[in-house]
Symmetry: C2
Subunit: 103 residues, 2 copies
């Protein structure tokens, strides 16, 4: 599925890391929330509050979760879970499109 | 209204001008389409195919439409119309949030 249907979308973007990450928030009728966004080529460290699932829609990234020494490569069609109150390092060398699922 | 309700949203972003402009497409039940996006600080020249209305949601920009010599400043709450098959120059010195209305 290339789109979400019957949702609400917040007009104003979420911008992180000086614009290296830009997302828009999508609200679902059941009360859950996702963000759809892009990450520009960069090496970033994201903090999580709530647990989340990162789904890669386009591009490739390398990810290292808190406490791990190895990096794992993810590409379009892949997902990875991140616990709440944690962090992950992510490296991209091309534009990454993602959906971040919460709750 | 800070959000659009009962819409579809395309997961993958539209990226223009080497990432200076990033938007997501929102589809309405009546068949119309809008994009919600950001423009990073830059000086860009947009081409229009269809007529559009640019609505500024956050930030400030200066705009010069095709055939005009004067620049006009727009900020949050303002809109401007652009004819089809035309172009406009836009300058931003801070992050701009916009909604582009088509059809």
């Amino acid at each position: 599925m290339s789109q979400f249907d019957e949702v609400s979308v917040v007009k104003k973007a979420n911008v992180y890391f000086d614009g290296k990450c830009v997302s828009h928030t999508v609200l679902f009728p059941n009360g859950t929330r996702k963000t759809i966004g892009v990450i520009f080529p960069s090496s970033l460290s994201f903090q999580t509050a709530a647990p989340e699932i990162m789904e890669i829609i386009g591009g490739v990234c390398r990810v290292r979760q808190a406490g791990e020494s190895e990096w794992t490569t993810y590409q379009a069609g892949d997902s990875f879970k991140v616990p709440g109150d944690s962090r992950f390092d992510i490296e991209t060398v091309e534009m990454l499109d993602y959906v971040c699922h919460f709750g």
